[in-house]
Symmetry: C2
Subunit: 344 residues, 2 copies
């Protein structure tokens, strides 16, 4: 039978209950062995009886030993493959470079949520640095972060804005992808990607589409509306998009999907239709996820894991008062595998 009240139990309560001073309680708590076994047990009993839990905050303040944490903030696990590979880079590098920091994971599911999290982070200062993945930053919140003096870095795209960001150029990636397909002789090239949105998330799909458009223009190929399929970032949705494409009067001979997962959806649709990849239709993904490698998917490498590595390296540099330049990632790169081939 323990008390049901949740009111804070402090060492004072424990000391009183055990009939000792708080100093003694503190000593048994920290295993300072100069405590007579008997009193020690008395204290221990009092602790369990009262269900006492020491306050880590008070302890830290007294000890002058702040727990150090680095925050990672991203969307709530939609599109979590690329996030995971980035996180892996972050985690492993953090492990290698410093054992002082713990990783705190923030996820946001809406604009409000995002803003609330940012505000919260700034106010509580629970985190010494922040990595922002796949998310935009409004001027207001940019200022907020700046004022807080909490170092931060974005990961996804090239640094274009006024804040440090690590990633590759999505427009270039889309451009390269499309040029690659063009070079294989394809002209009816479809684009399967996320719906363009103007919200708190980085508009990756639009950027890659821009590159796609530009490459087509340069090649003098008409961009036909019906070859552009936008939808939710999801395997099944992409599969449906591909089905629509296949049902066109003149279906595409190649599909450029803005992510590997979506590309796999397209591949599935094509196979279900009884067609072959790449013999009948080529499919090119984007990301170069591990699963792309595992499935033989042709894709565009955007150096996901490395982006995490560089991101955390940069942040640790700032925190260490070296004034590092914002690192650069290699350009996106075509990785041809077994889902693309030249048009006969």
């Amino acid at each position: 039978m323990s008390k049901l009240t949740a009111s804070k139990v402090t060492i004072y309560d424990v000391a009183k209950k055990a009939g000792v001073g708080i100093g003694t309680v503190s000593r048994v708590l920290n295993n300072h062995l100069q405590v007579r076994p008997k009193t020690r047990t008395r204290v221990l009993e009092a602790i369990t009886a009262l269900d006492f839990k020491p306050s880590s905050v008070a302890r830290q303040l007294s000890l002058q030993s702040q727990i150090r944490q680095i925050g990672v903030i991203t969307q709530t696990f939609v599109n979590y493959y690329s996030f995971t590979e980035r996180l892996r880079g972050i985690q492993q590098t953090l492990d290698k470079l410093s054992s002082d920091y713990e990783l705190l994971l923030y996820t946001v599911s809406s604009l409000e949520h995002y803003q609330q999290q940012l505000t919260n982070i700034v106010q509580t200062r629970s985190v010494e640095g922040l990595i922002i993945i796949d998310l935009e930053l409004s001027n207001k919140h940019l200022e907020l972060l700046r004022d807080s003096h909490i170092p931060f870095v974005g990961i996804n795209h090239l640094q274009t804005q006024d804040w440090p960001c690590i990633g590759t150029n999505n427009v270039e990636g889309g451009y390269l992808a499309t040029k690659y397909l063009l070079s294989l002789g394809h002209e009816r090239i479809a684009y399967v990607g996320d719906t363009f949105v103007e919200d708190y998330t980085h508009n990756t799909s639009r950027e890659r589409f821009e590159g796609y458009k530009r490459a087509l223009e340069e090649a003098g190929v008409n961009l036909s509306e019906d070859l552009v399929q936008l939808g939710k970032h999801d395997y099944d949705v992409a599969k449906q998009s591909a089905e629509k494409l296949l049902n066109l009067k003149t279906p595409p001979t190649a599909i450029f999907a803005m992510s590997d997962v979506q590309a796999l959806g397209c591949v599935a649709a094509i196979k279900e239709k009884g067609l072959k990849v790449p013999d009948d239709i080529s499919v090119l993904g984007y990301d170069d996820l591990d699963i792309g490698y595992h499935t033989g998917l042709s894709t565009v490498r955007q150096h996901l894991e490395e982006s995490g590595v560089k991101g955390i390296e940069y942040l640790l540099g700032v925190l260490g008062n070296k004034k590092p330049a914002v690192p650069k990632l290699p350009s996106p790169k075509i990785i041809p595998r077994q889902t693309t081939r030249a048009l006969n």
Copy 2:
């Protein structure tokens, strides 16, 4: 030119520099708007000049508002697919059920590291609850955690030990998997899995192998050593294992891999050899990862995401002083897709 010294700057320093009292500094810090704009700016200037960063710890102590965190501890991103799906369940459910907690990610790379992390967690009490994924718990550390009164729950296998654990029965899973292949007429069934180890990680591979063995025995099928290929948990390693199997005098007609990733490695090896899945050889994975779905892999569902959901639900229950029973997961379940078929 800012100071290079890192010695703590406090509000007292700021107050002195700005020629005001600490109360005023606190007020501008917290936007208590009863500050004359002029003094406000003075304070702000002092803050930037001194590069003052308020102590979140002192603030929390004063406000009596502990930041609440839940820890997730696991191996450092080997085998991160299943971990990620579990984490997704944890994260989403936490988001749904409570906005009070943040997720803290611990990863361990060795036994020492693991023990150090646990000790650290217990001592600093930085976390109010702990989810332990794919990791074992020695009696010593079990006691450590118990003494700390930090609620914890394991995720991977069925509760067999003396501590709460959520997961499915791996022996049963291996058994079902093998029985399924037997029912398709296969007898030369290979097992591709992780090397058996006795360390801090949960010995999942051995458990599934146990089930495999049992099913073969029951069916009166001889377990031949050369059909058992153990190695690192890795796509490429599994691929090599499969290559070895294919080079046997009498290769297997079916492969049971202990994970989807390894199963995909086997599939790749078979295809490279010019053989077809499942026409020539059946491959059965384990996990039911999203990528299994994406690739049409036959597999054993172990309810990964749901394990995360139940894990965090349980923990939140304990933290909320309801005394929840340890949740149970549905049994492992065969998910036949396109990589298994009956032997002709």
